[in-house]
């Protein structure tokens, strides 16, 4: 940040920037002032303040509480859609899952995790794909876990109710008619799919051990881009501990483990880019 830009920034920006960096590892530079203004003003209004500046002066010396939490939630990015980017789901369907099913035939158990799941479309896309394309898994123990920093997003995901714009994005029409029930302007996913999933709140930069059990597949897409290099390393180090040796991880298109964690290697798979632990046997 240049001195000129820093001088032009309102004082509350630095408080908000530090808050989200310390608590959620989200990096906000000066170009994100508009984002802070647009997303945090509704929090201020909800708590009876007429400006972000007034809210920040009131809470600056208070211990971490509800308003601090709401500011962080407002600044987490919740962009998601069903079958987003398509290729990871194709790779999962054509290669990764058939191989894992073969390897796990004795245990008959599979675990898939959507980290930073937002409103849940990624994990439900996986659940829909399993139901449609892998009927044999009906008799397996399949753990589908979705986690997010935001309690509000976890509640939304668990409710499995989506609006028209959301079901318009990436969801095959055949799945919409088969698995969703229209309720006014909303669409509710059937219980037969919803109950395949578990949802938990998790801050990725805090210890995961109590929430995340060993995983066969990890979707960690479009979340590392918001973190500093040190926090990216911390998150990848934790993935290393929970990913099974022959498991697989998907990152977002603009993300990589390169120069962050040497224990992962990239491999192409059905048009997607996947990561596995070096020395693993995928």
């Amino acid at each position: 940040m240049t001195a000129a830009v820093a001088e032009a920034l309102p004082a509350y920006f630095d408080f908000v920037r530090r808050l989200v960096a310390e608590r959620a590892a989200i990096v906000l530079d000066a170009t994100k002032l508009y984002l802070v203004d647009a997303r945090v003003m509704p929090v201020a209004a909800r708590h009876g303040f007429d400006s972000i500046a007034a809210m920040v002066s009131a809470i600056r010396s208070r211990p971490f509480g509800l308003i601090h939490e709401e500011i962080i939630e407002a600044l987490t990015t919740n962009e998601t859609s069903f079958f987003r980017d398509v290729t990871p789901f194709e790779a999962l369907k054509k290669t990764i899952l058939p191989e894992l099913i073969q390897k796990r035939g004795a245990q008959r158990e599979l675990s898939i995790w959507s980290a930073a799941c937002s409103s849940g479309q990624e994990l439900y896309s996986i659940a829909l794909m399993l139901r449609e394309s892998f009927p044999t898994l009906g008799s397996w123990k399949v753990n589908l876990l979705g986690t997010d920093y935001s309690t509000q997003m976890i509640e939304r995901a668990a409710s499995a109710v989506y609006n028209q714009s959301e079901v318009n994005r990436g969801l095959p029409a055949s799945y919409l008619v088969k698995y969703f029930q229209r309720q006014g302007l909303q669409w509710r996913l059937s219980d037969s799919i919803r109950t395949m999933t578990t949802w938990r709140r998790l801050n990725l930069i805090e210890p995961w051990s109590s929430v995340v059990a060993p995983m066969d597949v990890v979707f960690l897409r479009n979340v590392l881009i918001y973190f500093s290099p040190d926090d990216k390393k911390k998150v990848l180090a934790q993935v290393r501990k929970v990913l099974r040796p022959d498991g697989c991880m998907f990152l977002g298109g603009a993300e990589t483990t390169m120069k962050l964690d040497d224990s992962f290697e990239r491999f192409p798979c059905d048009g997607a880019v996947c990561y596995r632990l070096k020395g693993g046997c995928t």
Binding site: F83, V86, Q164, S165, N168, A173, V177, R182
Partner: protein
Amino acid sequence: MRALLVEDSRAQRCVVRAMLKELGFEVVEATNGHDALRALEQSERPDVAVVDWNMPEMDGLEFIRELRRRRQFDSVRVVMATSETETSQIECALSAGADEYVMKPYPKDALRDKLVLLGVM
């Protein structure tokens, strides 16, 4: 990539034409099902048809049924793009031969997602 846009509303045609062009499609337009069948005979075969439901003369559903009777157009993927949002209507469009369905209003990203699902992008 070529798209046939079948839509009677001039304003809606203008919006969807712009979306398709931004997505890299050459666009041929028709204002109802009859026009669309003529356009299919007269221009190069499209990769996809984006079809409204409610139109004068021949509506989108009839057009799709007619299109699916003509085996030479089997490779044309069809997205029904309409304000109809009942489950029974979506089922009806799919059984008539639509490959995908998008509910109006929709942004370019929703149309793009449908075209990606159909493998035409």
